[in-house]
Symmetry: C2
């Protein structure tokens, strides 16, 4: 891999920023707010920021770059697709639970739903994410879609994925803004007086933006993509399911790739790769 | 150009969404808020959303995609660089005036500066934008930087450009959220009761996100990039300044390109193109 050490540095930064974001939101709800619970009141609301940042920001980001990890290039594309789709499914599930928590809280407290820009953009992002996941399953994971369709949809799949991820982060920033203005009022210390909690949660916002920036950098470097050679060989194995030999030794993989590419240099998987 | 009609449709959508965003923010401050003025009070604050959305969102977006306009491909790269840098300079100037307005308003009203996440991310984005512009001038517009430096910096230049644009939109969404919670309170009709203004400004937020999405799609389509042939020929003309013949007939340009590429097929401008 070209620039392997730099890749490791970016990956380590992403993991650090992602884990720190989750830790910060956990400390926020447990230490500064009302903790966690499922009683319709504020402890239930608190699942909303915790699960959205864990699922819709951190896990979604990792799912996006999972093909970039060079030690997975010896594994079959099918296995990696399962991991990619699996992580996105976990992220969507957490996002849905977090939405249930906030709707439940609103209904319990007789607060209207869906009035803020945060809710408009956020719900749209989660619905588009669910659609993206269903389309991704149908076109890339199940063996029915023709290659021409896979090729045609890939630029849209990649672009939508990164756009939804970015929209998720923007929505989280709006949510943080809303919550700090609600919670830090004249009754305690207002947001504008920068109490400890305000600084702490602003830092959480900065961590999320930095995490998003690192993920987008990793995802859009062309020389950090899973090499085409592997794509071609593993393409042949999609119908085979996966078993003990889903992760080969890289040398064997490269050798068989070279032979495969000699036989058919124009792999039909080529066009299915990201153009971002 | 491959997919010319689709490009035109996306460009028309971008222009429509951008102009609508500016129109919506203008109607917001003139019709729903206190209008415009430079008196330290709310009419001065209102320059902040108006100039940020006009400059940091709309004009910045157009500056990003200006190389993609196929009818400019017959113009010299130097002329296009001047237009690209010029539009970004206008955008930065408007952003700075909009920041002066909000700091002036805060100082006049004795409101602390820089306490919110909106201000942290927003000021960082404007500072990074200014740095990006100065570096862009030094590396790409002035004739001093060696080709190797131009090549090495281009992926960072492109990535930072799109990231700052995205961060600007996220900041605008936070700003809208803040302002609606400040302005729509129990004294009038609260935001949560969805008065007309709330719906109108939420739609403004959606327009901005849609504008950003269209600009990012146009900017990241590889087949909509300015063709390399033109880059090579116009590279030779950078030192020449620009005059009457800065926009050639496309046929002539292609012919001279072909000859130039025959002489030196490995143009050193190749590596300077966006990889996004």
């Amino acid at each position: 891999m070209e620039g392997y050490k730099l890749f490791l540095a970016f990956l380590a930064s992403a993991l650090l920023l992602g884990v720190l974001s989750v830790a910060f939101v956990l400390v926020w709800v447990l230490n500064y707010r009302e903790g966690l619970g499922w009683n319709g009141d504020l402890p239930e609301f608190n699942w909303h920021p915790l699960l959205i940042i864990t699922g819709f920001v951190f896990i979604q980001g990792i799912a996006i770059i999972v093909y970039r990890l060079p030690w997975t290039w010896k594994c079959s594309k099918f296995l990696m697709k399962l991991i990619h789709a699996g992580l996105h499914t976990v992220a969507l599930t957490l996002a849905i639970i977090s939405l249930v928590a906030v709707f439940d809280f609103h209904n319990f407290k007789k607060i209207p739903n869906m009035y803020s820009l945060h809710s408009w953009i956020g719900l749209t992002a989660v619905i588009l994410y669910a659609l993206q996941l269903v389309l991704g399953y149908m076109v890339y994971l199940l063996p029915f879609a023709p290659t021409s369709l896979r090729t045609a949809v890939m630029p849209i799949h990649t672009y939508s994925g990164l756009l939804i991820f970015g929209a998720g982060i923007a929505t989280a920033l709006m949510g943080i803004t809303e919550k700090l203005f609600f919670a830090l009022t004249e009754k305690t210390v207002p947001y504008s007086q920068s109490p400890k909690e305000a600084i702490f949660v602003n830092v959480l916002g900065v961590l999320i933006v930095a995490y998003g920036a690192v993920i987008l950098w990793i995802a859009t470097r062309p020389h950090w993509k899973r090499p085409l050679e592997h794509v071609f060989v593993t393409h042949q194995r999609i119908g085979e399911g996966f078993g003990e030999d889903d992760c080969h030794s890289p040398d064997l993989e490269f050798n068989s790739d070279a032979a495969a590419r000699k036989r058919n240099p124009k792999s039909d998987e080529t066009g299915q790769r990201s153009t971002m």
